[in-house]
Symmetry: C2
Subunit: 110 residues, 2 copies
């Protein structure tokens, strides 16, 4: 399992230097990362459905295009706070957020 998942995390910039380092994540931490990736995905689809560019969403959020790009990509430097605010700003409701969390996103395409 690990190699595939690790590749995905690294792709998202989760600075996973080594397998050992990867395994150092507490269960809560890796669950949180999964959750951030799911919600980043929610932001992207919600934003696109609303026909907003990253720049447009950034304006609503009082943030910047680059932050939005990072948050959708699941970048490690983005807080869950910002991701959730972005989802709301894109038009998502609590229900949508709950749904995105309930469904565990498939990890990588294989």
């Amino acid at each position: 399992m690990d190699a595939k998942k690790r590749r995905m995390l690294e792709a998202a910039g989760w600075h996973v230097g080594s397998t050992a380092e990867f395994l150092d994540l507490t269960p809560e931490e890796s669950a949180l990362i999964d959750l951030k990736l799911s919600l980043g995905h929610l932001v992207r689809t919600t934003r696109q459905r609303a026909k907003l560019s990253q720049h447009g969403l950034a304006d609503r959020l009082h943030s910047s295009q680059s932050r939005v790009a990072k948050l959708e990509a699941g970048d490690a430097t983005v807080s869950l706070d910002l991701i959730v605010k972005a989802a709301f700003a894109a038009g998502a409701k609590r229900t949508d957020v709950a749904n995105a969390i309930r469904k565990k996103r498939r990890v990588a395409a294989g």
Copy 2:
């Protein structure tokens, strides 16, 4: 509506100095606050069900008792990241988090 809700936010330390200031919250921001309160509540009930003290949960989280107290109380200085990590550390699953988000918590008791 406002007076009641505002009192609740202030009680939780959400530094809401004036109604004007309160109204300055963007919709996303106040939705996020609601969500934090809901999840803080989830942490508390999950922790109690697991028969953990705040100190015990703090250990699992590699955090401190005072942070746990603040996060359960919906303190304004606590990130959503920490709240969610705490929920997981207390034993909550993604489903539990999703449920807590789906149900909008009743605001104050009246």
